[in-house]
């Protein structure tokens, strides 16, 4: 009896799925060129005003719902769409930290007749490249933010992790005192962004300044502040003299500074650095805590990502890449950055 | 009939560090007989059976099957030699359906290896049920049927295995009604005629004399005596088992009855067949409630105790109607119950004896939200003394106690609650003779103190020995009331079976 019921319900379910799906797609775009990596921009960038009247339906997909940088990206994306592309219908959602949700959402977009997707897609893999290629073949335009696209069909707007870290490393190589003893927060292992940043630090800071000793280092799962706090607390037990906190992002550096302050150590003489230029990092620089950071401008990243998507939807470009430059933040220019965060509503 | 020994033991000993469970046990079991093993708890009967069926191995001595020396390392190996056992502790899989359970390990296989032919298996299970005259719906799960049904199925499952040569049955009738016991004995006789040897462990004297060809008595791990059943009398057997004379198995003392403490009018409980009951119990009386399985005795008790919902009717305490909708209500009125399945409803096995005794009495033993440890210790110690509970200490885990001591703990906790009415549902099931006597003694004592006792039991001798009056139930209705003088086993049985006399 139960089995018959199950069969009937399954049949009804399948029937309703068939009834609801759209038939056919709007112009499907065949992609002849099989480029393996996106090119740097050469052609002049078209201005947003040109696309003011474009009508489209897009989905904005973040990595998860709680990561601060993701939030900055999504907030900025929404702002850009509302201000510069008022005829665009959009929906914001997230992957819940599970990359396998990408294919579900892409399928849904194709079925529901979306024109484009702005996605913070995380690491590349053979599988995900295929997903984007399939979706694009169905007519969906894809623009990735905060990630490099290597599938040959999607545009991307990203900050060069290696480049940013190199900038930071060079600055720290300049200002770290002689024979400094530092601790090193390496971010999560296996994460491409983290690994690129670590490589840049190794090459341009530690190799360039062989007198600087890394007395303790470790990975920090999920870039999480609480994990960095635990590490730093234990390191403070072991080492009395810590001259510098080298970190591949702001949050972990701030964790280190907090711990040292609570342990009663003098942090004004500690050299610390991070990357991303998030609100808490900027506030700390202003307050004399964090020494320096590199702005990963999510405003620009989202803006360009949306622009590329609109260009793709309008048929003007096939797929392109935009690299966002990092900007060194020091006590001299930090007030500008704080103002930007205030404008975004992230700092009240 | 000089038959060969099917099974022979020579100097079997089983020693655990510090304890000797079996001490040089030697005797023989003739082929094709029903050989009964008698002895108190701890006599070593179960240990011996476990050695035969492969669960344990002896530390010394030899066992011979059909004249050949054997030693089994596993139940499976014993099974291959034709030995099967029905355990005292019913182990079953609650969510398995009856048909799957009956055919467990004997399912019909498909030609493709690893697959089971379910239709054939199910048909075989149904055929088995039909052959035995059992009317269970084979799609019911084990969880949905009662303990006695499970016992019947367990027996059916074991008996239907045609490869069995030697069948060991450990207390197989503890949950069965007399009619079912009779049917079981019929089946045993059929097996005997087929040449199967049966080893039977039981406490029930009357059953043993019905079925036994030979009886072996064990005590304290030692073999005391083996002889044909005809050579024993109940008294000689008990003497050998216990090592002392028990003259008064039922220590009944005369008590002056008081007023009606509990009265029940037009009582029926929801979801059961119990309806229209009218009965009463006076202070100091021990009133029995007799009936077969399914007659509704336990359901009545549960309704009185607040465990099940009432459909209609009145419960009167000291003449005044009371509203009992939950167990706390019942306890507050002074109605308490020692349930049938003491492991399941009677005690918290993993907690100490002291905690178990204190549990329903915490209000009495507490100061505000805190437990008054000193008061608790005092009362628990008193209960230990009064009920003669045997345990290493009050902090011992309840589940490690023997059946008799567990039952004493259950009684202790209710005694402490100073009840007006005490309902006892099968209080001496699975308890050895010595402990049973103590429980009867307690019952008498409590009656003397003016407690009204309602006794539910399946052992007719208990009614005749302990009860002042006895009600009989049949199919959810009360159909008889017998005074102490009128009580005979036949008359009680007749009423329980539905007839009138």
């Amino acid at each position: 009896m139960k089995r018959i019921l199950a069969l009937v319900l399954t049949a009804l379910f399948c029937a309703s799925l068939c009834a609801c799906s759209d038939t056919g797609q709007a112009d499907s775009q065949t992609d002849d060129s099989a480029q393996s990596s996106a090119d740097a921009p050469e052609a002049p960038v078209q201005k947003a005003e040109d696309y003011h009247d474009v009508k489209a339906k897009i989905m904005v997909i973040g990595k998860n719902s709680t990561d601060p940088f993701t939030n900055w990206l999504l907030t900025a994306a929404e702002k850009v769409i509302k201000e510069s592309y008022p005829n665009v219908e959009y929906v914001v959602t997230n992957l819940n930290d599970d990359p396998s949700n990408i294919v579900t959402l892409l399928d849904q977009c194709v079925l529901d007749g979306y024109d484009g997707v702005l996605i913070q897609k995380g690491s590349n893999s053979i599988n995900s490249d295929e997903w984007y290629q399939n979706a694009t073949a169905e007519g969906l335009k894809i623009s990735a933010i905060n990630a490099i696209a290597k599938d040959g069909v999607a545009s991307c707007s990203y900050a060069d992790d290696y480049g940013m870290a190199q900038m930071m490393a060079a600055h720290m190589a300049d200002i770290l005192p002689e024979n400094a003893q530092v601790v090193f927060f390496k971010g999560p292992d296996g994460n491409q962004a983290a690994m690129d940043r670590v490589d840049a630090y190794q090459e341009h800071l530690f190799k360039a300044r062989p007198d600087v000793t890394v007395i303790a280092e470790n990975f920090v799962e999920g870039w999480k502040k609480e994990n960095a706090i635990t590490l730093m607390e234990d390191w403070c037990q072991k080492y009395d003299k810590i001259d510098g906190i080298i970190s591949v992002n702001d949050t972990m550096a701030l964790a280190g500074l907090d711990v040292m302050k609570n342990a009663g150590r003098d942090i004004s003489s500690v050299y610390s650095c991070g990357i991303d230029g998030l609100a808490d990092g900027c506030l700390s620089i202003e307050a004399g805590g964090l020494t320096a950071s590199i702005l990963q401008n999510a405003d620009v990243m989202s803006e360009e990502g949306v622009r590329l998507l609109m260009q793709m939807i309008n048929g003007d470009i096939d797929h392109e890449a935009y690299i966002v430059d990092g900007v060194l933040i020091t006590p001299d220019n930090v007030s500008e950055m704080i103002q930007m965060h205030r404008d975004n509503g992230i700092i009240k | 009939m000089q038959a060969e020994y099917k099974l022979r033991f020579e100097g079997i000993s089983k020693v655990f560090p510090g304890v000797v469970a079996l001490d040089e046990v030697s005797f023989g079991v003739h082929k094709g007989t029903v050989h009964v093993l008698m002895g108190e708890n701890g006599a070593g009967k179960s240990t011996l059976m476990k050695i035969i069926n492969g669960t344990q191995q002896q530390t010394a001595g030899r066992m011979y099957l059909d004249g050949k020396e054997v030693s089994f390392r596993s139940v499976y190996e014993a099974g291959q030699h034709g030995i099967g056992m029905i355990c005292q502790e019913l182990s079953y899989i609650p969510d398995m359906t009856i048909e799957k359970y009956l055919m467990l390990c004997r399912e019909h296989r498909r030609r493709v290896p690893g697959f089971i032919d379910w239709p054939k298996t199910r048909a075989a299970a149904r055929a088995l049920l039909e052959r035995e005259g059992l009317s269970y719906d084979p799609r019911l799960t084990m969880r949905e049927i009662s303990i006695s049904d499970i016992q019947i199925l367990e027996i059916t499952k074991c008996i239907s295995n045609d490869n069995i040569d030697v069948l060991i049955m450990d207390e197989p009738t503890s949950a069965l009604s007399n009619k079912e016991v009779a049917r079981l004995f019929d089946r045993i006789r059929i097996l005997k005629e087929k040449g199967i040897t049966i080893l039977y462990i039981s406490h029930k004297m009357d059953e043993i004399f019905q079925i036994a060809d030979e009886i072996t008595v064990m005590r304290d791990g030692r073999h005391i005596h083996t002889a044909p059943a005809s050579e024993y009398t109940p008294e000689s057997m008990v003497t050998m088992m216990v090592g002392r004379r028990i003259d008064d198995v039922y220590p009944k003392e005369p008590v002056a009855f008081g007023e009606k403490v509990l009265e029940v009018r037009d009582f029926s409980t929801r979801y059961t067949n119990v309806s229209g009951l009218n009965f009463y119990v006076r202070a100091g009386e021990i009133v029995g409630l007799a009936g077969l399985m399914g007659a509704g005795r336990t359901e009545t008790a549960r309704g009185l105790f607040g465990m099940d919902a009432l459909e209609s009717g009145q419960i009167l305490l000291d003449g005044k109607p009371v509203n009992i909708r939950s167990v706390p209500d019942a306890v507050r009125c002074g109605i308490v119950m020692a349930t049938e399945d003491r492991r399941r409803y009677g005690m918290i096995g993993c907690r100490s004896i002291s905690e178990n005794i204190a549990l329903p009495n915490l209000r009495k033993l507490s100061r505000g939200p805190f437990v008054d440890r000193r008061k608790e210790r005092r009362h628990v110690a008193e209960m230990f003394r009064r009920l003669r509970i045997k345990a290493p200490s009050e902090q011992t885990e309840a589940k490690t106690l023997s059946g008799g001591n567990q039952q004493k703990v259950v009684l202790a906790k209710w005694l402490l609650a100073k009840p007006r009415v005490l309902i006892l549902d099968e209080p001496t099931r699975g308890i050895d003779v010595g402990a049973k006597y103590e429980i009867y003694r307690l019952m008498s004592q409590m009656a003397k103190e003016g407690i009204a006792i309602l006794l539910i039991s399946s052992e007719l001798p208990e009614f005749i020995g302990m009860c002042d009056r006895c009600y009989t139930m049949y199919n959810g209705r009360m159909n008889g009331e017998l005074s102490r003088a009128e009580m005979t086993q036949e008359r009680i049985m007749m009423h329980c079976a539905g007839g009138k006399s």
Binding site: T66, P68, D189, E217, F219, V220, E221, G222, K224, K225, E226, I229, T230, L231, E233, D234, W235, Q237, K238, D258, N262, A279, D280, I346, I347, K348 | F16, P17, G18, V19, V20, A21, N41, G42, S46, T47, T55, Q56, G221, F305, V327, P328, A330, V331, T339, Y345, G346, M347, I348, C350, R351, E355, L359, P360, L362, F370, V371, P392, T400, K413
Partner: protein, 338 residues
Amino acid sequence: MEKRFTDIRGLFSQAMRRYGIYLILLLIVFAGSVLSPVFLTSKNIMSVGRQVSVTGILAFAETILIIGGNVDLSLGSQVALSGMISINTYLGTGSAVLAFASAIAVCVCCSLFNAFAITKLQMPGFVATMSMDFIARGAVYVYCKGTPIYQVGDYGKISSTYLFGVVPLPVVFLLGVAVLAAVILRQTCLGRNIYAVGGNAEAAFASGISVSRTKFKAFAISGLFTGIAAVIQMARLNTGMPDTANGYHGDAIAAAVIGGASFTGGAGTAAGTLVGAFVVGFISNILNLKGISIYVQQIIKGILIIIAVSVDIAGKNRKIRQVAREKKEPVEPREGPA
């Protein structure tokens, strides 16, 4: 014939059963002092105490639930949700007391809703609390739009202050919760009821205990503890992080189980849980002092937890066998027939 079990082997296994977990703690402390010179200093121990304070307090919440036959998989999300609300309360009122009160109120609500789902809606605890986990996590996002609260004023002082200049405030809270849990479990009628309901709910019912009322009270206590943990967590971060405490219920349950709480219900102690929390904390601390990669640490932590729990269970089985010998009736150990 009845022999009392008095030889050395018996005493040893009795000791193992009751004090096994303390033995493990001692072994770890010994290993730590050998492997690192700074391990056995009061500063380090206090630091570890602060590190385990949040998951430790959550472990006490789980302990009370596990003893009562329940579990709560939503504690981490409750910490995040109530923590964010608590920070805003503090920013609005300037009162630390109100900060605690608001966190506790939110957690108690979530926990009571869990209790309602389990008792009245008859949902299995696992399912009900897992659903609450999703709900609470989602609620955090809706509440703060995923944006952290960067400026929290003096909130962080709840974590960074020292009592008598030596004991970090979080450790004071941890010990306070430990004492409270111990008193509840050992000295109160409610504690007895929780043990009974967890050990055998049907028998507790047949003894006149209200099973559902007991569960409600147990969940309420869990909510109280979780609220306290939430404030300490946010104070430690010195930021309102909405994505914090992910999976903390796992660490909490691990500490409780190492400390002797059993999922069969009716077993567990406050002292054991405190030891369990420190066992996990010390392992992490020692491995950090030795500079071992956190991913390797996770593997080692998992293995050591398995060892700790197995030793504990083996001690209990030995006890079952010992008692069985005295009864002269062989009994199968808990893991089933050999």
